[in-house]
Amino acid sequence: MEPVDIGPPPKKRWELTPEAFNKLLSFLDPDRERAGMVYEKLRLKLMKFFEWRGSAFPEDHADEVLNRVTKKVDEGEVVRDFYSYSHRIASLFFLETTKDPAGRSVPVEDLPSIPAAPNSTDDAELRLECFENCLRALPAESCELITQYYQGERRARIDHRKALAERLEIPLNALRIRTHRIRMKLEACVEDCLRKSQLEVKQT
């Protein structure tokens, strides 16, 4: 049989190994728990970086950048500022994705205008019930803080927040961030509640 020329073998893609991952964690912090926190924080920054740039797959792209950073650390590259270094890798990878049609983000002008889709009344009711249950499940302090933070309309709301920050003796920005953290928990709880409800409906 005649040999068939199938061209050069494809370049082997680097794959994340437990050893390489452990090496990265040790590089981030000698304490494994703290290293895990740094890793999660970087992953969130990367995800938001891609999301804010309009990528279609921010999570996948964040993981790919983390793989590339891990590879560099595994290969012994000297990384002085981990976050700046990751940002550079992310920027380069973003350029790659814009060249690849599959990952290309669409120019804003070409995007359709999609107003937020109102849910059906039933969905809205279910979401509200989930929200109220999740709000009640928060620690009392968080529940009170978030309730007060979002009270009122426009001007009154701004005044409310200023007064609240003054009472708590923290800058307004710190209050915003504190509330954001609680809100993230609340959002996650509501989405979880909705998912479970939908699963239950499907199973029956």
């Binding site: 700046s84 937020a116 889709a117 803080l145 409310h160």
Partner: protein, 320 residues
């Protein structure tokens, strides 16, 4: 103050994709290395979503938000969350009383406030005031405890109501699905969905629509075919939207009045075989459709979550 406004403006421009590259790259490098700035961005993103949900963005920002920001189902969910929260928590208080921090967060304890009142320059003696205030405090504590108990009870009742609601939803959905399935197996009910005299009235009808079928007033040929008569006892309407090609894994159908007010939006619909080709079926309750002209905008959902127009379907509803 100006600096703060500039910073907020900068962040907003970034989130709405309006920052030029030469500003954007150093700005991103900054939030990668500064946790504070990153958290500020996250909080600003919340504010932007809230402002959109409250309809407090300028027309330009709103357009930009819809084009640049609302590009994934996840972000749509965040807007829905904001609307729910605003509807639930953010109702204006009955009176614009000065804000009071949560007791456990406040630095002044109740007794410190109490003492500061005693230190005030009211022209009454401190002792009777203290006695009166003590009564108020004790009474207030009793009321507070009662309110707390009531809140707990309300929470328990609502928690008990959730399974009931789920159960009711389940049975309603199951009923709807059964009806849609039954309608699918029937032959198309014909141009006019009104049962003839003597004929038993079904509580559900299926209306087959073809894209491009124009409004009845504009097309004599399709005029009767896209008319739906609502008669007493009619509960469920299944709109069968015929597809020229099934190019997407899932679809979104948006039912609107002729003034483009949303009646219903259904996501993640799948195309089905109808015997005469593929179609997407949208089930909706008859009570959602008062007499008038309607349009169904069908979009295909692309893998990145964005929408592509598939077709528009028109129909008219009249009361019997």
């Amino acid at each position: 103050m100006d600096q703060l406004v500039n910073r907020e403006d900068l962040i907003k421009r970034y989130l709405l994709g309006e920052m030029p590259d030469d500003e954007r790259v150093p700005f991103e490098a900054q939030y990668f290395s500064q946790d504070d700035l990153f958290e500020e961005l996250l909080a600003a993103e919340d504010d932007l979503i809230d402002d959109y949900a409250r309809d407090e963005l300028s027309p330009h920002e709103r357009g930009r938000f819809e084009r640049y920001f609302l590009t994934s189902p996840k972000r749509h969910q965040r807007v829905e969350f904001a609307k729910t929260m605003i509807g639930s928590v953010c109702r204006p208080q009955e009176s614009e009383a000065p804000v009071r921090p949560p007791p456990s967060l406040a630095h002044d304890s109740w007794w410190q406030s109490f003492l500061s009142l005693l230190r005030g320059d009211r022209k009454i003696t401190a002792l009777p005031l203290a006695a009166a205030l003590a009564l108020v405090v004790l009474g207030g504590a009793g009321l507070g405890l009662q309110a707390w108990r009531l809140r707990q009870q309300l929470g328990e009742i609502q928690a008990q109501r959730l399974p009931e609601r789920l159960e009711r939803e389940r049975s309603e959905r199951a009923k709807l699905e059964q009806e849609v399935a039954r309608l699918r197996t029937q032959s198309a009910s014909g141009p006019n969905m009104v049962p003839q005299p003597g004929q038993s009235r079904s509580d559900s009808v299926l209306l087959a629509l073809t894209t491009g079928m124009v409004r009845s007033s504009e097309d004599a040929g399709s005029g009767e075919r896209n008319k739906l008569t609502i008669y007493p006892g009619l509960n469920l309407i299944a709109l069968q939207l015929k597809l020229a090609a099934d190019d997407y894994q899932s679809y979104q159908a948006r039912v609107q009045t002729d003034e483009e007010a949303d009646v219903l939006i259904q996501h993640l619909l799948k195309a089905e075989d109808t015997g005469g080709g593929k179609a997407v079926v949208v089930g909706l309750s008859a009570r959602r459709l008062p007499a008038g002209d309607y349009i169904v905008k069908l979009s295909g959902i692309k893998p990145d979550g964005s929408l592509a127009d598939v077709g528009k379907y028109y129909f008219k509803v009249r009361d019997q």
